[in-house]
């Protein structure tokens, strides 16, 4: 009982003070403490600088009340999101704490049946590895299914799968003509007999060592989906992948963590997420038949599925301990295509989610989701104003705007460093934030224009 209590305190402390705090105390990590202290001080200094910059540039509340309010609103939102992320560890710990102690008391080990569902099309290079990785996981084989849906591959994918079946007789192969990824995923849900379904991209795999972390949160019966911590496999390939690695880190460890604190991760990412079958089945066909402006939606299956679960009032969470490795685009063209797809699915999904979220989860809606949507819409407008309109109409360079962006990014980077001192990709976050502001935010407009083009684009 005592041991239990000390364990109970531990993660909450970690949540407040960072991931490795508990470890460092035991070995008197003065360097670590010094590091974190300096990060805190720099954080305070940056906030002061941000306020100073705002005081300097928004001399014009009377002149530009909207811009003035906007900048303060955005900064507040970004900082609040980081505060939410800081509360994540504690929230995640409490999520399963009751069930865990209950199970412990009754000496039950939580070990539900799980199924890996891997839709694939022309993946002869990656599919073998993906299947083998599933069987590598530390989980009883009898409680595990692996289902591969060959969605009309024209290469040797099926041949490889059949070869694999010789080694893994339990491997289930569904081979059908091309129907689209969503249908393939749905087939997995229908065919499987397991309680938990793990959706994997063919180029992703779960880290076998942390696999159980993906299942853990389901001990809380209200949890319908768990998102793993996505980490690029090809991080060091080039500057584009390094940049995305930094972005992934921020997006998972800060943004998804913040959402998870409120039990509402809006997108359990397609590369690796686990779902409770009993929660998915009632909405499976609604999700499958999703249409936008009269046309079926070909991408954004992950985000749509999560939304349908949220609409049911279920919890969708993120576990930063469950690691999943995936491949990120390594050329500008691929990155652009992927981002365009994501933006389009974001727009479509925002229209869908916006309709029910304020009824189902009013707090999340008004304090998180609607502000987020507002900012996403305003950002390209304000960026246009600061970088193009004002320089042309008033002739002054957007120096302070850029300094402001650097400062806000620095604040995020500081927290990034605070969470994980060893992650070396943080400088690339500045690059990403410029790319995002000067290019990707405008992509949203392009995405609106091209919304009816439901093509997948080359991958």
């Amino acid at each position: 009982m005592w041991g239990n209590r000390s364990q109970a305190l531990d993660p909450s402390l970690r949540g407040l003070l960072g991931r490795d705090f508990a470890v460092s105390v035991s070995s008197v990590g003065w360097r670590r403490i010094f590091f974190q202290l300096s990060i805190l001080i720099s954080g305070a200094a940056i906030i002061l600088l941000i306020v100073l910059i705002k005081a300097k540039t928004t001399g014009d509340f009377a002149v530009e009340p909207y811009f003035f309010t906007y900048t303060i609103f955005v900064t507040t939102f970004i900082m609040s999101r980081m505060v939410l992320a800081m509360l994540y560890k504690k929230s995640f710990f409490t999520l399963t704490a009751d069930a865990k102690s209950d199970n412990q008391m009754r000496r039950i080990k939580y070990e539900p049946t799980v199924a890996f569902v891997i839709p694939c099309k022309n993946e002869e290079v990656a599919i073998g590895d993906a299947v083998i990785q599933c069987y590598q996981t530390d989980y009883p084989r009898e409680k595990m299914e692996v289902i591969v849906i060959n969605d009309g591959s024209t290469d040797r994918t099926l041949m490889i799968l059949n070869e694999l079946k010789k080694y893994y007789p339990s491997l289930r192969i569904i081979d059908w003509p091309n129907q689209g990824k969503r249908w393939a995923m749905a087939a997995g849900f229908q065919v499987s007999k397991s309680e938990i379904i793990i959706q994997l991209d063919s180029d992703s795999h779960v880290d076998p060592a942390t696999f159980r972390e993906l299942i853990e949160p389901f001990q809380n019966t209200k949890v319908a989906a768990v998102c793993a911590n996505g980490i690029p496999k090809n991080a060091d390939q080039n500057v584009i992948t390094r940049m995305q690695t930094a972005y992934y880190f921020m997006s998972f460890e800060i943004l998804k963590a913040a959402e998870s604190t409120l039990d509402t991760v809006f997108c359990c990412s397609g590369c690796c997420s686990a779902y409770r079958k009993s929660s998915v089945m009632p909405i499976l066909y609604s999700w499958l038949g999703e249409k936008f402006l009269g046309k079926p939606v070909t991408w954004g299956d992950d985000r749509a599925l999560t939304s349908w679960l949220i609409k049911r009032g279920e919890k969708t969470v993120y576990n930063s301990q469950a690691l999943a490795y995936t491949v990120v685009p390594s050329t500008w063209r691929q990155l652009f295509k992927q981002q365009l797809r994501w933006k389009k699915s974001w727009i479509i999904n925002a229209c869908f989610t916006g309709k029910f979220i304020w009824k189902k989860k009013p707090f999340v809606a008004f304090f998180y989701y609607f502000p987020l949507i507002l900012i996403s819409i305003l950002t390209p407008i304000m960026t246009f104003r600061a970088l193009i309109y004002t320089p042309i109409s008033h002739g002054n360079l957007p120096l302070y705007h850029i300094i402001g962006i650097i400062l806000v990014t620095s604040l995020v980077v500081l927290y990034y460093r605070f969470i994980d001192q060893k992650n070396k990709y943080w400088p690339y976050l500045f690059l990403w934030s410029f790319l995002s502001l000067f290019f990707l935010s405008f992509l949203l407009i392009w995405a609106v224009i091209r919304i009816q083009d439901r093509g997948w684009g080359t991958r």
């Binding site: 005081a55 609103f73 609040s80 409490t94």
Partner: protein, 536 residues
Amino acid sequence: MHEFNLKMTKITIVLTAISLFFVMLGGVTLLKNNYYAKAKYFEMQLDYLKDRFAFGEYSYGGLLGWAKSWPDKSASVQTDSATAQSIPILLYHGVITTPNWKSDGTNISLNDFRDQMFALKKAGYQSITLSQFLDFMQSGKSLPKKSVMITFDDSRSDSYYPVDPILKVLDYNAVMFVITGRSFGPDNSKNTFHLSEDELQKMLASGRWEMASHTENGHGYVQVDAAGTQDQGHLIGHFMSDKIWLPDQGRLETDAEFTQRVSADLAASKKDLENNLGIKVLAFAYPFGDYGNDTQNFPGSKEILTNVTNSLFPLAFRQIGDNEFPANYPGKDFRLVKRIDVNEDMSPKQLLFILDSGQEKQLPYAETFTANNGWLTAWGNSELKNGLLLTRASETEDSSMTFLNGTFNWKNYTVSAEARLLQGNSFAAVARYIDGSHYVTCDFTSWGVALSQSINGTETVISESNQSLELNADQEMAVGIGVSGNTASCYIGTKAVATGNISATLSHGGIGFKTWGSTVNNSSLLVSNLKVVATQ
């Protein structure tokens, strides 16, 4: 447990977001108007270091000089026990930091201003305050010999931010004449050209600045006739010295209306300074330096303005004219104070020449005309050439006048000199020169010698000698003028040729020379071998 935690999380995040929002909003609003949060303030601190380094380099040279310059404040204590006879006052406007700025006759570039200040400091000058000056003028309270007052007009931001670090380095102080209507009140919250109330407070707190009045809203142009005559894009009348044309009534203001208007403005400016800054207002400076002398339509304004300003302020400031001694001497006219209008066109050397030559000269006095000891041009032209003083009429004038700075307080003396009239009809030796309208002359013409006096610009002959003279352009002539008490004499060689009594108004004054020709640009005189001895 989780649901409870979620609730706490929600409360936490709402409170955090609200406080973040308001902290930022408050922070921005607070810092926005905060003096110390302005980039200008940081620049000023940097400027201080730069100026200190520059001064060290200027006075001692190199890095070593910089180090030496730190405890330099002791150097400002003058060891010279001599006291000042007169106080020169410098007038500046904006100090411009923009590169490639062109001189505009009003402002000065920062580099030149710095050079002038450094030159003053190196020459041993120390700045004085308004009250020190008032005591000196009113009751002759002694001040160090090399005292100077530094003033700025119009309360412009650019006469504070670049200037203050220099004052701090040199341990100088200055007076700011504030146009109160442009600094105080909510209307000026966006006005960064003029100093704000907050900035003026900070200036006062530094101990380096004093504030005085430069009107409330009286530093402007007014309509003085039905036509609304303009010159160079603005109306020609001055708010302070002209009657305003009232178009709806088709007439000019009455004397009473004029008096009412200017006294209301000046009283308001005084009140603004007293109420907002909590100071005693010791001085007022006339806008445009116009104390009624430059009026378009109301010659009586001078007297009214004198009365109004005297009733409100112990001191009133104007700019000097060319024909006046540049410094201020204590005495009954102490209320109207002269200032040297310094701008980009004056070099540090020229400035020091005016100040140094204003130091009282001792009798007996002899002049070799090799270096300029203070010969100033009242009108026409004058220069030193090969040990000679040349004074000549300009292209627009028929006469010229030059006088010697630092002789204002001379009383009883005899001047002897050798003169050669190169062109023109006559020349004169001048004594008891107070300004261009008050002096005694001995006019030497071909028909004889005349002793005259000029009071308020009116020249009257006192005594004449009709013995004709040969004014030879190739031959020096020994001439002289002597003044003793109220008696004045003209000399040819050592012989007095005309003697008479002069007005008590001219009880003291300096020496000079004058030329006259019957046509313009046609009179010039060479002077050499000048000697002045004291008499009883």
